[in-house]
């Protein structure tokens, strides 16, 4: 079964901004940079709130890349 090609113009362009998506890998695989109790945030040790913060940062980076490529 062969489907017709997607209509021209709908195809997304890829961009150098995709390099931004490497940042979460650098940040998260560099474990010694965040293996610390301090500074705490609202009583939560750094180790935990920093990694949770990166969930948000990574999502924002993806939005940035998506908006540019659309």
């Amino acid at each position: 079964m062969t489907m017709p090609a997607s209509p021209p113009g709908r195809r997304s362009r890829t961009s150098f901004l995709r390099l931004l998506l490497l940042l979460p890998f650098v940040a998260m695989l560099w474990v010694s940079s965040y293996n610390s109790l301090t500074p705490t945030l609202g009583g939560i040790p750094f180790y935990y709130w920093y990694q949770l913060l990166w969930v948000v940062i990574a999502a924002v980076l993806t939005v940035v890349v998506y908006r540019f490529e659309r």
């Binding site: 890998f25 705490t40 990574a58 993806t62 939005v63």
Partner: protein, 511 residues
């Protein structure tokens, strides 16, 4: 028996049962075609795909096992957060390409793609068998999630009576998956995820108030558990273990058949890209849920005689259910437990569908009955989805739980071995089909061997380079072996007898 909890749970279960069966008529399609039954007609938009893939990846087992790991072992259990951060850049970059080529050629499974790309039925068989074998224990573990919750409701009994609630849940699951296909978990995922969000958000607000704030919660946990023990001597210690666990798990996740089934059911590549930005909401939720493990420590649930029986039976897995029972009124605990139990049904349904698709397309049609019609193909897939679930049920009732846990651990090591044939092949046809097959064999053998030296109890294997030890996820180390072998042999095989002419896909199919 905790009656309020039971009544709320049963009511919610009845609701999703009705939904599961009506789903057959939702976005109506010809359910005798495999891509309609097994991929929901590839018609799900951003919103439904968010619920479906979210409900698919963040399983009930995850929701029980991750807080249990944090509760028991502390900081290492938080690897689920970097793991579920790293899956989304990969999803964004790689998987719209897979979607495009599968849509163009009518592929239902990754093994279909491998068959088309390499023209090699044996390599496709290797990919399909790996997928099936890695998924089976995963389905069984979903049942464990249901069992813990049933235990927490105080539903007791011995022998067959003990397993009866689980059997009923599974018969319902099997029946609506059979009739409605992927539409059923898609519809149910919406209800389940809303319940999960309500339960977890309420917990991370209410429990700290009851316990006197986050500061007090973390103060109640032994300091050694709060961060990873820094490595001492010539070893990367827990640092390389933590990083490789996150990276290896992230690379493996979308190779699992249930993940690709979720992705391929999207309407277009844009749906996948948008979801790469939206799905992290679940990762955040999982992070909060992991913290519930510490809250359970601080609340001292293990010392409460009311929960002694539960901990005796289920170990640390009982920590989060116990926390909900201790901190909330019965009806709210009922909502949380229903969310977990229904949360087990969604991925279990998708996993059984994905396994059925693989068996039907890449084993039955390829090797047993190539001439089967489209409706015969679908009938076979529906039948297989039943057999797969029965197998999982049998596994959980008659075999020790440790088997399922160990097999699931091995499953992660095995499934990652399909990465070169699937993910790398989306970018280059340099690799030779036979070289990939030999690379796969080397990866499977070395990964299994590493796990065997650990007596199948863990997956952190230390390799030694330049006098330093790098303890790391065996899946990642064996993948490196697999990739090196695949590339090296491809150079040789391409020179002697290239198989590139067998590629039935074209460069423009991937955009």
């Amino acid at each position: 028996m905790r009656w309020t909890v039971v009544i709320v749970c049963v009511a919610l279960f009845a609701l999703i049962t009705v939904m599961g069966f009506t789903a057959a008529r939702w976005r109506r399609g010809d359910l005798t075609l495999l891509h309609e039954w097994g991929l929901g007609g590839r018609r799900f938009g951003t919103f439904i795909a968010w619920f479906l893939i979210g409900g698919d990846l963040y399983t009930a087992y995850t929701f029980i096992a991750i807080p249990a790991l944090v509760y028991g072992a502390g900081a290492i259990g938080f690897f689920a957060v970097p793991y579920t951060i790293l899956i989304y850049p990969i999803l964004y970059i790689v998987f719209p390409r897979l979607w495009a080529v599968c849509h163009r050629h009518g592929y239902i499974t990754t093994a279909d793609f491998v068959r088309g790309r390499f023209g090699n039925g044996w390599l496709a068989l290797a990919v399909a068998v790996t997928g099936i074998v890695a998924t089976m224990p995963y389905i069984a573990l979903q049942l464990v999630g249901i069992q813990v919750v049933i235990g927490a409701m105080g539903v007791g009994g011995h022998g067959l009576l003990h397993d009866l609630p689980l059997i009923i849940a599974f018969v319902i699951l099997a029946a609506f998956t059979y009739t409605s296909g992927l539409r059923a978990p898609a519809m149910i995922a919406v209800v389940k995820d809303i319940l999960i969000y309500i339960a977890v958000i309420a917990a991370v607000i209410v429990v700290p108030i009851e316990l006197g704030g986050y500061g007090k919660i973390f103060a109640a946990v032994p300091a050694a558990k709060l961060i990873l023990a820094p490595p001492k001597g010539p070893t990367m210690g827990l640092y390389s273990a933590y990083a490789t666990l996150a990276l290896g798990s992230a690379l493996a996740l979308f190779l699992y058949p249930h993940s690709t089934t979720g992705i391929l059911s999207a309407r277009n590549g844009g749906v996948i890209r948008r979801n790469a930005a939206m799905l992290p909401a679940y990762s955040f939720l999982l992070g909060l849920l992991a913290l519930l493990g510490f809250m359970a420590v601080a609340a001292g649930v293990a010392k409460n005689p009311e929960f002694a029986e539960g901990f005796k039976q289920y170990g640390p897995s009982f920590s989060v259910p116990a926390l909900f029972l201790a901190a909330f009124p019965g009806w709210f605990a009922g909502i949380a437990f229903a969310a977990i139990a229904i949360g087990a049904l969604v991925p279990a349904a998708i996993m059984s569908i994905a396994t059925a698709n693989l068996f039907t397309r890449n084993i039955y049609k390829e090797f047993i009955k190539p001439a089967c019609s489209e409706s015969e193909e679908t009938e076979m897939a529906k039948l297989i989805s039943l057999i797969v679930k029965l197998g999982a049920l049998f596994f959980v009732i008659f075999l020790p739980l440790t088997y399922a846990v160990q097999l699931q651990l091995l499953g992660g090591i095995w499934i990652i071995q399909t990465l070169p044939a699937v993910m790398i092949a989306l970018y280059t046809r340099f690799l030779n089909g036979w070289a990939l097959l030999i690379g796969w064999i080397c990866g499977m053998a070395s990964g299994t061997w590493m796990a065997a030296t650990l007596h199948f109890k863990g997956s952190i294997y230390a390799i030694h380079l330049f006098g330093t030890a790098f303890p790391g996820y065996a899946a990642l180390w064996s993948l490196v072996i697999n990739i090196v072998v695949s590339f090296a042999l491809s150079v040789v095989f391409n020179a002697v007898a290239s198989d590139r002419h067998k590629d039935t896909t074209a460069a423009e199919d991937y955009a």
